[in-house]
């Protein structure tokens, strides 16, 4: 391997004076300042800026429609086309959950129910959103395609109790999801 000797570039007198460079710097910073005020900052449009710089001002403007498909927001339970609860309370998500945010109380499905052969459904399904780290492992581990990470990210509450999503809330966030594998349906 040949040795490449890199020499420091020699500065000419103007560069040694340093003042020219400072003025160049002033021009650059002032250009940015003026562009920010005129909403002409580079990339302002793509970033949906608020009209100053490239900043989007949060509560008024939101990035929601630009969230990617794979965005991991709040975990939620889903129902399918037949309005069946997908969750069979196998508790795999509860056991895999790294911060132990999920708590499931399983219950049996009574024999007169049309879905009696599914045997179990959650009586209570609680996710503590203070603990949740949005890792998506629950979604990954679920054998029933019942739990999904949705795009909700602004989960707020004034008490700890409010931050625990119960079953009702989880289904409310999750809603109905179509196009899932319906393995419990009768074979035609």
């Amino acid at each position: 391997m040949a040795v490449v000797k890199v020499t420091r570039p020699k500065l000419n007198t103007g560069e040694k004076m340093y003042l020219g460079a400072i003025f160049k710097g002033f021009i650059i910073t002032m250009k940015h300042a003026v562009a920010s005020l005129r909403n002409k900052t580079r990339g302002a449009e793509a970033m949906e800026s608020s009209g100053m710089g490239i900043t989007m001002q949060y509560p008024e403007q939101k990035w929601d429609e630009h969230l990617p498909e794979y965005y991991r927001g709040a975990p939620a339970l889903v129902t399918d086309e037949q309005d069946r609860e997908r969750c069979v309370s196998c508790q795999l998500c509860e056991f895999i959950c790294p911060p132990k945010a999920i708590k499931i109380t399983p219950s049996e499905i009574s024999s007169d129910d049309p879905w009696a052969k599914v045997e179990k459904r959650p009586l209570e399904f609680e996710i503590d959103m203070i603990r949740c780290i949005y890792c998506g492992m629950c979604e990954e581990v679920c054998p029933e395609q019942a739990i999904y990470l949705r795009k909700d990210y602004a989960i707020t509450g004034v008490t700890r109790a409010e931050m625990v999503h119960d079953k009702k809330k989880l289904y409310e966030i999750g809603g109905k999801r179509v196009g899932l594998v319906n393995k419990w349906n009768e074979l035609k």
Binding site: V3, K5, L19, I22, G25, F26, I28, T29, M30, H32, A33, A35, S36, L37, T41, A44, S50, M52, G53, I54, T55, Q57
Partner: protein, 420 residues
């Protein structure tokens, strides 16, 4: 009775000019600093904090571009825990913040804020103490603030503050010389050390950096080009003086005493709450005073220029001369503009390395200021000297300058890098 009235007038001046003019400038410059740096960096900056009118039943909150932000910051600093570490030397630790703020505020007293205000036929100068040694007084007092910084660094009894304090001392000593020497040409030119008189001269005869009216233009004073020729040493003095003021106030290109990247917070690492706020306030007050000094000496102080000042001074409403107030507004505008320049410099110029800082102070500015003194003297004396002596003097000065530059170049032999 007269004594009481005189004392009352002095008290009014002290309270009015210090607490109603200079101190409010501190939070305002903090606000400008944050907003200006934000737009330079393509951000928005603090624009939310306002008066929460919705709490009182109004329809919308009042947030005037976030102008209340500094007040919120101040309130936060008031309410924070004032923590004194157990390892500090308490007496000096508590004394240091005051020693930073007080000199900065004391120097306010010689700054002329405006021309005279006329009440009942008597003129009152808009300056707290009309000293005949203005600039000297400012240098004497403002260099005391380094004691606060050094004491803070030492009494904190911890490594980073100590390094910060020592750096500050060295920096202050280095730049004090350039500061003092660079202002000598200005004082030579005006022949006066009273800042009010300096400003009045500038108002009548053109600013030092803008000699375009009054006696300084050749067709008004019988073909004397002194004022225009003096522009060259004035600009050199201006550059050196401004840069030294940056160094004196520990502002960005020279903020080595408190550089966050190396020294955590420098001399105020161990401080919290209002004690920290005092350092903060002292720094910004020094910035306000520094820029008002630059404006006073070089940019015409309170004068609006172009021969308008006499007309403004003559303005009055019912025997009450308001010219002084208009001049004060002009002065404030100039000071704020210069503070904005301070901020622009902070967010443009990267920090110097410590040896570069020392080199700039001792090797470049010191010599340049010294040569500038002689250049200014030559320009001022040229009409008496006549052409031949002046050119001879200039040649001598050029030779001396060349010799100095040569000595500096030779003395700075760089070691040849070892080739591998």
């Amino acid at each position: 009775m007269d004594l009481v009235i005189t004392l009352l007038i002095i008290l009014a001046k002290v309270i009015g000019l210090t607490f109603l003019v200079v101190l409010p400038l501190v939070p305002i410059s903090v606000y400008f600093e944050r907003r200006f740096s934000a737009i330079i960096q393509d951000r928005v900056g603090p624009n939310r904090v306002g008066i929460p009118l919705t709490l009182f039943g109004a329809k919308k909150d009042f947030s005037f571009f976030g102008l209340v932000q500094p007040m919120a910051d101040g309130l936060k600093l008031f309410l924070k825990e004032d923590f004194t570490p157990s390892h500090v030397r308490k007496a000096f630790y508590w004394l240091a913040p005051a020693l930073v703020v007080v000199p900065a505020l004391v120097t306010v007293c010689v700054v002329p804020f405006g021309s005279d205000i006329i009440v009942n036929g008597t003129a009152h100068k808009l300056v707290i103490a009309d000293l005949d040694v203005g600039p000297l007084f400012v240098f004497a007092i403002s260099s005391l603030s380094v004691y606060g910084i050094t004491l803070a660094g030492w009494s904190s009894n911890s490594k980073f503050p100590f390094i910060g304090g020592v750096r500050s001392t060295a920096q202050m000593i280095s730049y004090e010389i350039a500061l003092g020497l660079s202002v000598v040409p200005v004082l030579l030119y005006f022949g006066d050390l009273n800042l009010s008189n300096i400003v009045e001269q500038q108002a009548a005869n053109g600013w030092l950096l803008l000699p375009l009216w009054g006696n300084s233009v050749p067709w008004n004073n019988g073909g004397d080009y002194t004022a225009w020729l003096f522009w060259i040493p004035a600009v050199i003095a201006f550059v050196i003086f401004t840069t030294s003021v940056f160094a004196e106030t520990n502002r960005m290109p020279f903020d080595l005493p408190e550089c966050e990247t190396e020294l955590v917070g420098g001399y105020h690492t161990e401080y919290s709450s209002m004690k920290f706020a005092m350092f903060f306030m002292g720094e910004y007050a020094a910035m306000v005073i520094g820029s008002s000094l630059v404006v006073t000496l070089f940019l015409g102080g309170w004068s609006l220029g172009f021969g308008l000042d006499a007309k403004i001074s003559a303005l009055s409403i019912g025997g009450f001369g308001i010219g002084g107030l208009i001049h004060m507004a002009v002065f404030m505008t100039k000071v704020v503009a210069f503070i904005l320049f301070f901020i622009l410099v902070r967010w443009t110029v990267p920090r110097f390395r410590y040896d570069q800082l020392m080199r700039l102070g001792w090797v470049i500015f010191f010599e340049a200021a010294l040569i500038n003194v002689f250049l200014a003297a030559l320009v001022i004396a040229a009409p008496q000297f006549g052409a031949i002596s002046t050119i001879g003097g200039l040649a001598l000065l050029a030779v001396v300058t060349g010799a100095l530059v040569w000595v500096l170049k030779v003395s700075e032999k760089k070691s040849v890098p070892v080739s591998i």
